[in-house]
């Protein structure tokens, strides 16, 4: 059994006898020792989607699914297409990619994992750490080299995140995909 807060997007839990894939999970501290996890779930048997909240310590049985290494190939509206080493193509719906969508971009070479249920890809997992280029940010703040002062930066996908104030347009940054947070500037 795993607690609600241990589940990540893309994983599947057995809830009340049905397999539910977690499309998005947000942890929030509530008060004292209480915490809640808001999840977007999709029932793998009937396709029904729901938003739900759990106490962070609610327990569920994880369902272990098959995984295959894939890379992103192209977007064929409304499907995202990934390919494995044998050139098999896998189509994934946008709703199944919600948690990783901010980091899916043309030309990306990250080794991803396609997660299967009933021979169908139900989600894509990115590596824990990826590199992306900043396409826009305000000019650097002179003198700040501590990395503690943050500013907003935009990626090619349009996704915005907080980065150190010394980062500039064209810089590559390392991102933790589990939290979606900036980790560091990648030295050229």
């Amino acid at each position: 059994m795993k607690t609600a807060q241990e589940f990540r997007a893309g994983q599947v839990a057995n809830i009340d006898g049905s397999p539910w894939v977690i499309q998005k999970a947000e942890f929030n501290k509530s008060g004292r020792n209480a915490a809640v996890v808001k999840m977007k779930l999709k029932n793998l048997l009937n396709g029904m989607a729901t938003e739900t909240v759990f106490r962070a310590d609610d327990k569920f049985e994880p369902i272990i699914l098959d995984r295959k290494d894939v890379t992103y190939s192209y977007f064929a509206d409304p499907l995202y297409v990934f390919m494995d080493a044998e050139f098999n193509q896998y189509e994934v719906e946008k709703s199944d990619l919600e948690a990783v969508l901010p980091f899916i971009e043309d030309g990306m070479t990250d080794e991803c994992a396609a997660v299967f249920y009933d021979d169908k890809v139900i989600s894509i997992e990115l590596p824990n750490s990826i590199e992306r280029e900043i396409i826009y940010t305000e000019p650097s703040v002179r003198g700040d080299t501590s990395g503690k002062v943050m500013k907003t930066a935009r990626l090619s996908t349009g996704h915005e995140l907080q980065v150190s104030s010394f980062c500039e347009i064209g810089d590559s940054i390392e991102i933790d995909t589990r939290t979606g947070e900036y980790k560091s500037r990648v030295k050229a």
Binding site: I15, D16, G17, W20, E26, N28, K29, S30, G31, R32, A34, V36, K38, L41, T50, E51, T52, V53, F54, R55, D58
Partner: protein, 378 residues
């Protein structure tokens, strides 16, 4: 037939949990005519805020609410049935045997009443279902300050009673019941706080103020600090301690209705936790909130979230001093330095407190929202 409600309250510490659930239970019973049973694991804490509570009995009825002692080992007797609506207050864990009772009943609405926060995620989680085994229907209910949340506890007559007290002789009469006599040129302040060593600096600031500050101290850790400040082993009720322009009077444990009257009567309130925080807002008086401290300082996010909505409408300089004072109060900062800056804006803060209370009054209260949620669910 009246719908039945069970409310489960586990007293973690202090009086916030029982304070909120007792108000909730009474209001559900008295204003919405539900049959309400309140399960409490600590009758001693309950008795402090409601002297009518008898310690020796397992079942009793007070003000129309059935009170049940909640033992760690929850025994399901043959005549015990689940209520139509079950509230687990502040994520207290319901007894497994009671959950079995809920499963055996055809239709039960299970609500997890959460802590109050102004953080935006609470509105996003409010009223969402929580999938449960065995077909049980559970929802999260978040109190809050906006239309998108569950609202705040506010009894139907509360603000009329407040207005009556604040505008008439009732204030002086009430204060007299506490042996408090306050002169027109004195500032009356209530203090209800968690441990906070930097209060010593605040006492000094009150003492050196140009105006007399009459401080009414409720039972709690501040008493030990005041004893230290006056260099005494302890402070006693019925006596006034004075240094400079600081006058201190210790109050006994008081019941909820009197606590409200106290907040309405004071010129400034220092409150803590959740229940008194909400009551201070209904008092429509300037206040400072000591938030329940949490690990990794997550309570400071909660504090900032509230300030960001409470501060709207204040001028930038008043906003700045208010934030500075509240932060000092909650981070063992220099309250002695922040206080004179804050109190300079007493008039603006007073006007703002009235506006805030009036603004919140326009929203449906928590119990009305709960009752509507139940009706919609049916």
């Amino acid at each position: 037939m009246r719908a039945t409600w069970d409310i489960f309250c586990r007293v973690i510490d202090n009086f916030g949990d029982i304070g909120v659930t007792w108000r909730l239970a009474r209001q559900l019973s008295q204003e919405h005519n539900f049959s309400v049973r309140l399960w409490v694991d600590d009758l001693q804490a309950f008795q402090r805020i409601c002297p009518a509570v008898a310690m020796q009995v397992d079942w009793q009825t007070i003000e129309g609410v059935q009170i049940a002692r909640w033992y760690d080992e929850f025994v399901v007797t043959a005549d015990l049935v689940s209520a139509d609506v079950v509230i687990e207050a502040f994520a207290c864990q319901l007894p497994e045997s009671y959950i079995d009772l809920m499963r055996s009943k055809q239709k039960v609405l299970w609500l997890n009443l959460e802590y109050l926060t102004a953080e935006s995620w609470a509105a996003e989680c409010h009223a969402l279902p929580s999938l449960q085994a065995g077909g049980l229907q559970k929802y999260f209910f978040f109190p809050g300050f906006t239309e998108q949340t569950g609202g705040l506890l506010r009894e139907a007559k509360l603000l009329d009673l407040r207005d009556a007290l604040q505008r008439t002789e009732l204030r002086a009469q009430f204060l007299a019941t506490l042996d408090v006599q306050v002169k027109a040129d004195e500032r009356l302040i209530s203090l209800f706080s968690y441990a906070n060593p930097s209060l010593l600096g605040w006492f000094e600031a009150l003492s050196s103020d140009s105006k007399i500050n009459h401080l009414l101290v409720l039972q709690g850790p501040a008493l030990a600090l005041l004893a230290q400040y006056f260099e005494l082993p302890e402070l006693h009720g019925k006596q006034i301690y004075q240094r400079g322009n600081l006058k201190v009077q210790v109050l006994p444990y008081i019941q909820q209705e009197d606590f409200d009257r106290l907040l309405w009567s004071c010129d400034f309130n220092c409150v803590r936790g959740e229940d008194s925080f909400v009551r201070a807002q209904w008092a429509a008086k300037p206040f400072v909130w000591q938030i329940y401290p949490q690990q990794e300082d997550v309570h400071l996010d909660k504090l900032a979230a509230f300030l960001s909505i409470y501060n709207k409408g204040l001028s930038s300089d008043v906003k700045a001093v208010l934030e500075d004072a509240w932060l000092a109060w909650n981070t063992a900062g220099d309250i002695g330095r922040a206080w004179p800056q804050l109190i300079k804006h007493e008039e603006s803060l007073q006007k703002h407190a009235i506006q805030w209370s009036a603004q919140q009054r326009k929203l449906p209260d928590l119990v009305t929202k709960l009752a509507c949620f139940y009706q919609d669910w049916l």
